[in-house]
Amino acid sequence: MKNTTFQRGMASAKNYAGLIGALIAMCVLFGFASENFFTLSTLSTLSNDIPTLVVMAVGMTFVLIIGGIDLSVGSVMALAASILSLATVHWGWPVWASGLLGMAAATICGATTGLISVGWRIPSFIVSLGVLEIARGLAYQVTDSRTEYIGSAVEFISAPIVFGLSPAILIALAIVVAGQLVLTKSVLGRHWIGIGTNEEAVRLSGIAPRPRKVLVYALMGLLSGVGALFQVSRLEAADPNGGVGMELQVIAAVVIGGTSLMGGRGSVISTFIGVLIISVLEAGLAQVGVSEPMKRIVTGLVIVAAVVLDTYRRRGERA
């Protein structure tokens, strides 16, 4: 029986081989193109940028797996950050309490998207588009549209503690591992995959799909709140304009990781590698001195190429 577990492990390692290969190829390419690529500064840029993206991409993986989408995550993150700063700066709350308040607000945003789209059977695409606007408006309201400086109280979350790694990145990694375990090893994860594959079959098997779907959106909100905490700690400030367009970055990372937009299929580990690919790509392009417009064009091309490749891979599997 040990043997089968081992074999399953090997099989899943094979699934990641392509992604890891692409990541390594990119690093090698940028290493040759720019002598500065393999430096501490690149690494620290990466490890600063990544945690927020990672935790939000984990949430988005679950959302896509149940066949939904959440476009509000960038604004929800900004709202959570704004509330955090309001509580810390103006109410004098300790950071841990204002952090929890921000995460609670983000969770409520996610749960709202879930309740409305699941309750009235409205596509989550459109509901989350509305919530995107609402959360952004609230963020401006809360901060009077100004960036709030919080100072060093939150800095420690992004400061390196072991091997140059910050608590933020350690927490993000822990969330990746936990997310992957929940997805592949828990009853709840199995229900989510089932819902994304065939919701009616799950319902007729005596499992209530709707509360489980709402839970995914609430979790997405919570993880956007965690992302906000990381973001605020890195900038030592809350920017109500923060996270504009971030939903696209998050979704791109998840899709590059091979999670299906149709639901039912995905992996948190692959999403993590997807985040690395996107981040290395952006950092590398910046290093070789590519202009901002060009950077966006290249990133866009990579996303499209990744999805096309994934389609071929799946067709190959079916044949």
């Binding site: 029986m1 089968t4 577990t5 399953r8 090893k185 828990s186 009853v187 709840l188 199995r190 229900h191 995959i193 089932g194 594959t197 065939n198 009616e200 079959a201 799950v202 319902r203 007729l204 098997s205 005596g206 499992i207 209530a208 039912g264 299929r265």
Partner: protein, 529 residues
């Protein structure tokens, strides 16, 4: 000057025998299992051929082959004596072979005119020529007797009957020599059916050959010249329709009872397990009562749309009932069933007729599918045990004889019969006392069917109560202790084993539709058998 047709057929006694428009020899089709074998027939211009048979007998497959939607596995077709092998529906349409499918293919938000000419909109440099479109549409609509409809009406605003006529009109654009109508009256009211028949006569007079697929026997006798009956993929009758009674046709469709018997012995009929009391839903199922005892197999017969599936869904909480109660076990306390979850917890399982759409997680493995309804059995504290799951999957593969590599194989790769066994495995593992089956053997081959029958008998031996909906009368008569017949949303008659006959069951199935000429759109307008 008169030119005699230079048809290939030899002239006999000075009179040219009409050459067939279409002739089929030895047409067969095999998907995983053969669904059509050795079909040979000839069709002449101006002839209406009735094609009938039970569900799954091969009617639709045959018409799809003729219309280029599916290639035949064996055999050859001749059109006007020339080899005819349409590569696509468009290719067949080029040669004047048209088909009106059961499901209408219209765009409800576009106008009648636009729908008619969708693939060939008259235009100048890409701008629609509205004047010409209107002229053409009016002319085309006149061909099917739709003179009083504005061609700019959105199709969605018309009744289903008019939509059907528009679908037919669309198929009459350009050359139409052979028109296939697949269950054209399934959704029509009585008056709309009459309208359709007038148009069929008109087309016939214009020399169009028609294949009319239906299992409404009275209708066939009215419109058709010839009858072809398919049974299990083979032609069992090709004859002038005049001499046949409805009873003859039913006998041909159904055939003799299957020779094999299912061993139903060793069962102990016990206390009531499922009592349904006045359960109903407006417009779908009239308040209905029935009872299933432990060890008993009860069947529900009836036409499609008679409320059979809907009744099962009400019992299972898949749809919500407006009235009535369900009792599970020998109790006087009604079960509270609002969702399938409630039903399963009360001890009811339902195996749906739509295996792929509502039963299986196709892309997932046999193990995942068989444990879905009882993940508690293969997990501890919410965490799954992959080895336990695989073991459950392997156990049911063994017990039910699922042909597969191993329990990690995706169910999408299995044949229909084996997929059905996986659905059954899910509920066997969940182990509930009451099991509802909707078309448990639909679309699966005869060997697997008997596997399922034996399994059903075993379940009854274990003391479970089974309620089975089926369109296959032979199947119900083979395995049931009692058959309730539904018609127009209510149980009209109940037969005990030994006291039933096919004719009696069929006439009960039709009885609810007798003498009701003013259906609303959604009602099934069936003629009497």
């Amino acid at each position: 000057m008169t030119v005699e047709p230079t048809a290939a057929a030899p002239a006999l006694a000075g009179q040219p025998a009409p050459a067939p428009l279409l002739s089929l020899t030895d047409i067969g089709k095999t998907y995983v299992e053969p669904v059509l074998r050795g079909v040979a027939l000839q069709l002449h211009a101006g002839q209406v051929l009735a094609l009938t048979g039970e569900n799954g007998a091969g009617k639709s497959t045959l018409s799809k082959i003729v219309c280029g939607l599916e290639p035949a596995t064996t055999g050859a077709m001749l059109l006007d004596g020339q080899p005819f092998q349409p590569a696509s529906r468009a290719a067949a349409e080029q040669l004047g072979i048209r088909m009106v499918m059961q499901e209408l293919n219209l765009l409800p938000t576009l106008s009648v005119a636009e729908n008619l000419y969708l693939n060939q909109l008259p235009n100048r440099y890409g701008w629609i020529d509205r004047a010409k479109l209107e002229r053409d549409a009016i002319a085309q609509m006149a061909k099917v007797g739709l003179n009083d409809i504005d061609p700019w009406t959105p199709v969605g605003q018309l009744g289903i009957g008019h939509q059907q006529m528009i679908e037919i009109a669309r198929n009459l654009i350009g050359e139409c020599r052979l028109l296939v109508l697949d269950e054209p009256t399934a959704m029509l009211t009585h008056r709309e059916v009459e309208l359709l028949f007038v148009q069929i006569e008109r087309l016939k007079a214009a020399g169009v050959a028609i294949i009319y697929i239906s299992h409404r026997l009275e209708e066939l006798k009215r419109v058709a010249d010839r009858i072809v009956v398919l049974r299990d993929g083979e032609m069992v009758c090709d004859d002038a329709i005049a001499g046949y009674s409805s009873a003859d046709l039913v006998r041909l469709m159904v055939g003799r009872a299957a020779d094999a018997e299912i061993d139903l012995s060793g069962r102990v009929i016990g206390a009531p397990l499922l009592r349904v009391h006045e359960l109903g839903r407006k417009g779908v199922v009239h308040p209905t009562s029935l009872e299933v005892k432990a060890g008993q197999i009860v069947g529900i017969a009836g036409l499609i749309g008679s409320g059979r599936t809907e009744l099962l869904r009400l019992i299972f909480g898949a749809d919500s009932a407006d009235s009535g109660q369900v009792f599970v076990g020998d109790t006087t306390v009604a079960a509270v069933i609002n969702t399938p979850k409630d039903a399963v917890e009360a001890g009811i399982a339902m195996i749906t007729e739509d295996r792929k759409g509502q039963g299986l997680l196709l892309q997932q493995s046999i193990a995942v599918n068989s444990t879905l309804a009882r993940l508690e059995g293969v997990s501890k504290g919410g965490w799954l045990d992959g080895n336990a799951e695989a073991a459950v999957g392997a156990d049911y593969i063994e017990r039910l004889g699922v042909r597969s590599r191993n329990s990690a194989q995706a169910v999408a790769e299995l044949s229909g019969g084996n997929q059905q066994k996986v659905v059954m495995a899910r509920w066997l593992y969940r182990d509930v006392p009451v099991m509802l089956f909707d078309e448990p053997t639909r679309g699966i081959d005869i060997g697997a069917k008997f596997d399922i029958y034996h399994l059903l008998a075993d379940l009854a031996r274990q003391g479970k109560g089974l309620l089975i909906v089926s369109s296959d009368l032979r199947e119900l008569m083979l395995i049931c202790d009692r058959i309730a017949v539904m018609s127009a949303g209510r149980i009209v008659e109940t037969f005990e084993r030994g006291a039933w006959s096919q004719d009696a069951i069929l006439s009960a199935a039709f009885s609810g539709y007798l003498g009701s000429n003013d259906h609303t759109h959604n009602d099934t307008a069936a003629s009497a058998a």
